[in-house]
């Protein structure tokens, strides 16, 4: 059985606190530059495109598409059987790593560019992780 305590859990820093508080509250929080309008991830208190520090946190739509993935066949104590590790492209532009869940972990069910929706799962008292599932799935 999958043992979630075997996951390597994130430890937030001051610059990423808003993101991990957001996942606890069911929100996927990105940042936007108010100078050049660029949206970016991972978090930092300045824009990686124009270096402006005039940036704000906002809640993303949670919609994404499947950019690329692998299916790991080596055993991991926090997962049951082979599992996907994916990079998704968020509707707002940035990409992030995740697992695709609530669908069979097989190439036939994991098609590049398929629409996805974020879903949050509490994996410890203090941490909820952002996962993605096929759009239209029941949460």
């Amino acid at each position: 059985m999958a043992d979630l305590s075997k996951l390597s859990l994130p430890v937030a820093t001051p610059e990423t606190q808003h993101f991990w508080e957001g996942t606890q509250e069911g929100e996927l929080r990105l940042q936007k530059c108010l100078s050049c309008s660029g949206t970016y991830f991972p978090p930092r208190p300045f824009c990686p495109t124009c270096s402006s520090q005039d940036v704000e946190v906002f809640t993303a739509s949670g919609r994404a598409t499947l950019y690329s993935y692998i299916i790991n066949h080596r055993p991991h104590p926090a997962f049951d059987g082979p599992y996907s590790i994916a990079v998704v492209e968020l509707e707002e532009g940035p990409r992030m790593m995740t697992n695709i869940i609530n669908t069979p972990q097989q190439p036939e069910n994991l098609l590049l560019d398929m629409p996805l929706q974020v879903v949050f799962r509490k994996v410890s008292e203090a941490v909820a992780l952002p996962y993605f599932q096929p759009a239209g799935s029941a949460i």
């Binding site: 996951l7 430890v11 937030a12 990423t16 991972p42 590790i85 990409r95």
Partner: protein, 382 residues
């Protein structure tokens, strides 16, 4: 670096490769260093610059009894040694030191006294935004861009398997290669799945070993016994510590910057290149290397390799020692790619390429995180 101003006059690997449980990682550095100095006909007292990765130059210099004027501990993964060569060239040309020893040693298989290159903790950006999703190191992150590459380029899994088949043919000509038996596309594709779509033979070996290089100003080559190997061009870059943040999954920005600078410095055309090494931690890396360096157009590397162009007898010999897939791979393989380029330019390789005057040696560090390119040539190319 001024083209041809620097030369490699000593090069050697550890006495053994593969499983070396009798030597600590530090002693692997030393074994390679001693072999390298013997190759160059010099002793420890002649060395005044030390560069290494995996161990600190402090540890290596002290262990070997060297009192350096210059050190470089650049550690950006398996291509660190390409960067050391480039940095050593700049340091020598600037008069900071005269004779640089670059060492690699890694107890990747046996884990005897291993230290060094390891990922960060749970509060680093990779620790926060990648590690929670169950990655298991290179097998699950280096491979992640490839399905996107396939979709954008039309490259097939058969072509991926052909990289293994091709390089195994080179390994069959090399008595020091770990895997020498020929293989087939079917065998490769039906082997154990590691991280779909990559099977075991499409992932690098895990072995022990080391290597060393001795680098000096080109005006000193007459003082050394080996045929000199001149540096024609060098380049380096880094992109991202997180595979998920690689800007384009079909192309490495670091590969492009490093190789473009090396080719510009060397002032050569791709048609002049006789031999190529592309760090192959996984079977897709030669695709990215050939395309990002400009040997193939985007999407053409798969068919190019599958048609045998990089195999023995082909027009562009690639990974002639068998590569990380079949020769050896200790964790930071770049040193072994450099060693093979030196051997080819000296004319002493096990699978020697005819008239090898220019060799391009291209390395990757981390998971497409960093890159270094070194172009070497014979006296005739100056």
């Amino acid at each position: 670096m001024k083209r041809g101003s620097i030369a490699i006059v000593g090069a050697a690997e550890t006495t053994e490769l593969g499983r070396i449980p009798g030597l600590s990682q530090l002693q692997l550095h030393a074994d390679a260093a001693l072999n390298g100095m013997r190759d160059a006909g010099i002793s420890m007292a002649d060395i005044d610059g030390v560069a290494c990765a995996g161990e600190s130059p402090t540890s290596v210099a002290h262990y070997l009894g060297i009192q350096p004027n210059w050190v470089d501990s650049t550690s950006v993964g398996g291509c660190s040694f390409m960067l050391h060569v480039r940095h050593a060239a700049a340091a020598i040309n600037d008069g900071l030191c005269n004779t640089v020893l670059i060492t690699h040693g890694e107890s990747g298989r046996s884990n005897v006294g291993r230290s060094g290159f390891r990922g960060g903790g749970a509060a680093t950006l990779p620790g926060q935004f990648e590690a929670p999703f169950g990655g298991m190191g290179p097998t699950t992150s280096f491979t992640l861009p490839f399905l996107r590459y396939m979709k954008e380029t039309g490259t097939t899994l058969e072509q991926l398997a052909m990289v293994v088949v091709s390089q195994r043919l080179w390994a069959g000509l090399n008595p020091r290669a770990t895997l020498q038996e020929p293989t087939t596309v079917d065998e490769v594709m039906n082997d154990r799945m590691i991280a779909y779509p990559f099977t075991k033979p499409e992932c690098c070996l895990v072995t022990d070993g080391g290597g060393a290089l001795i680098v000096v100003a080109a005006d000193r080559v007459a003082d050394f016994p080996q045929s000199p190997v001149y540096l024609l061009g060098t380049g380096e870059s880094v992109e991202t510590p997180m595979i998920s943040q690689m800007a384009d999954f079909t192309s490495s920005r670091a590969f492009k910057i490093a190789s473009a600078n090396a080719f510009a410095e060397a002032g050569i055309q791709h048609s002049e290149v006789d031999h190529v090494m592309i760090y192959d931690a996984f079977a897709h890396l030669p695709f990215y290397g050939l395309e990002d360096m400009g040997f193939c157009k985007p999407g053409e590397a798969g068919p190019y390799i599958a048609e045998g162009n990089t195999s023995p007898g082909g027009e562009l010999p690639v990974n002639t020692n068998g590569g990380g897939l079949s020769y050896m791979h200790s964790g930071m393989y770049g040193m072994y790619a450099l060693q093979e380029s030196v051997r080819q330019i000296r004319g002493s390789a096990a699978a020697q390429v005819d008239a090898a005057d220019i060799s391009v040696c291209h390395g990757v560090g981390g998971m497409f995180a960093a890159s270094g390119t070194i172009i070497m040539g014979t006296q005739e190319t100056l």
